[in-house]
Amino acid sequence: MEMTDIFGRLSWADLVLLDVFRSPSVDTAVSSGAAWIMVLGAAAVLVWLTVAGRWGWLWRDWLTTVDHKKIGIMYITLGFIMMARGIAEGVVMRSYQATAYQGGAFLSEEHWAELFSTHGTVMIFFVAMPFITGFMNYLIPLQIGARDMAFPVLNQISLGLTGTGAALVMISLALGGFETGGWTAYPPFTGADFDPGPGPDYWVWSIVLSGFGSMFSGLNFAVTIYKMRAPGMDYLKMPVFCWTALCTSILLIFALPPLTVAGLMQALDRLLGFHFFTNDLGGNMMNYANLFWMFGHPEVYILILPAYGIFSELTATFAAKRLYGYRSLVMATMSIAVISFGVWLHHFFTMGQSPSINAAFGIATAIIAVPTGVKVYVWMATLWRGRIRMTTPMVYMTGFFILFTIGGFSGIILANPAINWQVHNTQFIVAHFHNVLLPGLIFGIFAGIHIWFPKAYGFRLHERAGTITAILWIVGFAMTFLPLYAVGLLGYPRRSAAFDDPAFLPYMYVSLTGAFILLAAFCGLFVTLWISIRNRDSLAVPLGDPWDGRTLEWATPSPPPPWNFPVIPQVSSLDAFAKEKAEGKPYVQPAEYRDIELPAPTSAGMVVMVSTTALGFALTWWIWWLAAAAAFGLVAYFFVRSFFEYPHIVIPAIEVQRVNEAWIEALHLCTPVNRDHEDDPRNRGHAATDMAIAS
């Protein structure tokens, strides 16, 4: 048997870890160094798990669980792990551009191209997506008064598929390297003729496989919201976050297929010599751009809508007012969801189609700014005359408000095809999308973490550390990305490996400084977490409602029990929990407790993750036996599995009663704190409500 039969086209030369020893240079030191950091980091985790005897804990409590809350936390953890890589790459990239004057940069051009490709892929697909999916996982069932998702096992499988995509991107760091065609990976540059190597294959398989996961997540969330709402919760009594989650889910269901189709056609081109996007024999790469952005544009709204939801919940809670214009906000969200499918061409105005097509899509793009504007006014009106507490989430909100509006305006400018032709493919674009994604999505996520972390873990995050971190994020963002608008207008093409105009230099230095502040801000998150863990006793809020919350998830202890609610709540209005508190009758004891059935843990998600990772890896390296074995194993597993009744675990009524009564008793023993003492140790999660007056 030949080596190629066993290892495909994989050889020792592909081991990036050894590059620096083979040909020592700054360039190989950076690439090998990154690979070593990853490998040693992973090894350290494995050693820790073994030494601390945590394998069983990891397997039983996390990897096989179907509890939506734990799955949500795992998504967010994955997002942070990948974000560490994405931010490190960002800092390296800014250093590269600061030294790129007349080609003086310290890395090779190939390496630079790989960096901007992985940075984009990692940040969009394996940071932003896991973050929003994690939030939706954690919050949807709690907010609609359900015990779990409609399809808990599928939920775990979605997580597994996301993990597969992330794993493949990480493996590429140590084996063979990633593609160099940007996160969009346009062929024919990424086609077999120009890049036969493994990079584009890694891209294809990580995107396609994790894409299936995202599609199934969307399906799961949409069905959960459609069918599992608590009795009495009409569509217009749903929390705003659930509305944004529903619209995001719909986008996930319908926007992922174009990406899957584009990715699989690209795979057919590369593996089997088809001619979808090739230069010759009737291939047409413009089809790829078209397909990719049919996904790519809704994707933007997939990411931003849940953040809008978080900001909506946040303004109402921290201004102690009812959300102004709930219905307008719902309408705006739904319009965005539909219109977002009709604007994709604005990503390639310059491709050569007729001006009337450009005009049509330009107009549609300008129109989609209207519902977004509506939202900004809704938040302003909610804050107006509210009793605002400037806690960390509100600091993020302030940054978001100002910066996101700037980003939105630059988007409206870009919607005009004539202007777009001028700044197309310059740093202006880089500034624009970082400006909407970072203050929009990432600030929303971090604000959300400050709000719901106490729900998940039972203690608040340290306020001062959190605020400093938030300010670092805001300043770091502004310094890093606002200068790029200027250099973009001056004509600096994005992704260029070198520049010749000395006028760009000052901007590049400011931007580099900003990147280091962002790095500090990222570390600030962990410092905040560290300080909070150390002070967790004085920050504890086990009673569950530290912020005087409005929606059902605050009507549970922190952390909530695996069954969420002892009995499914009956809902009669919007902001159900706020209404109960305003009427002075929250925390009612149920008349009767019943046994609760929950789905049992399963290893399905792990089976899917391992087999699809093997499949993607095998198809990348042409290890055909492994690809066949993984595909067959996957089908066989589900075939056999379908013959067995899916087991449930039963929580006896007496246990539910014990947990619930202990919580209610603790509530009665604790004096409610008003909003002036929100930040001090007296806040144990029992809020004295302002609502009677404010709403």
Partner: protein, 205 residues
């Protein structure tokens, strides 16, 4: 009973809780099918943009054998109809052998469809109409192949269902699964309508 006039066949489940669960599952499956429909629709659209991209190679008039396509259509329609009868016998008679018999009719018919389709693929291969030859042929193989793969996947699913019916009888869970399978099967018919008219008939018209 009168409310039930247009419930999915086979959905006469015994207790209300299970019915809700089954309804959630059927709705979820509808959503999946719709996502799949978008996938097919996009492959159709790509096929549309590549219909002329024959690059001097074999074109639609060379690869279309209308007799074979007519036969495939009849077989697939027959399979779908057989499946309907399986659903009806599951709903009204609750006899496993009767249901299994009709499932066997549906499966045989679909398997014959796949065989005839495979013969077509072989003929294309022999005349040099391989996907590596042109953009048009790439799109043709991908679109027809994607449908064929779906049918093959459906057959594996049908095998699993047959085994489960033999093992457990027509329990509520199995009825709910067969119902979902029915959605899938009839959905593939609809895709085939698009293929035979837009790809083959319109190709030679």
């Amino acid at each position: 009973m009168s409310q039930e006039t247009n419930v999915h066949p086979g959905m006469n489940l015994g207790y209300s809780d299970g019915e809700h669960e089954a309804e959630v599952k059927v709705f979820g499956f509808w959503v999946f099918v719709m996502s799949d429909l978008v996938t097919f629709g996009l492959v159709f659209a790509i096929f549309g943009t590549m219909a002329g991209a024959t690059a001097g190679g074999p074109g639609p008039e060379d690869v279309t054998d209308l007799k074979s396509i007519a036969l495939q259509t009849a077989l697939l329609l027959g399979s779908s109809f057989g499946f309907s009868w399986a659903s009806l016998s599951m709903k009204y008679h609750n006899q496993r052998w009767r249901t299994l018999g009709w499932l066997a009719v549906a499966a045989t018919s679909a398997l014959s469809f796949l065989i005839v389709e495979a013969i077509d693929f072989r003929d294309w291969y022999h005349m040099g109409a391989v996907p590596q030859r042109s953009g048009y042929l790439s799109a043709l193989w991908a679109l027809v192949g994607l449908h064929g793969l779906h049918v093959a996947g459906g057959l594996v699913w049908m095998a699993a269902m047959t085994g489960q019916i033999l093992r457990y009888g027509l329990t509520d869970q199995i009825k709910s699964r067969v119902t979902r399978m029915g959605l899938y099967w009839h959905f593939l018919d609809i895709v085939w309508i698009g293929i035979f008219s837009m790809v083959f008939l319109a190709g030679v018209a």
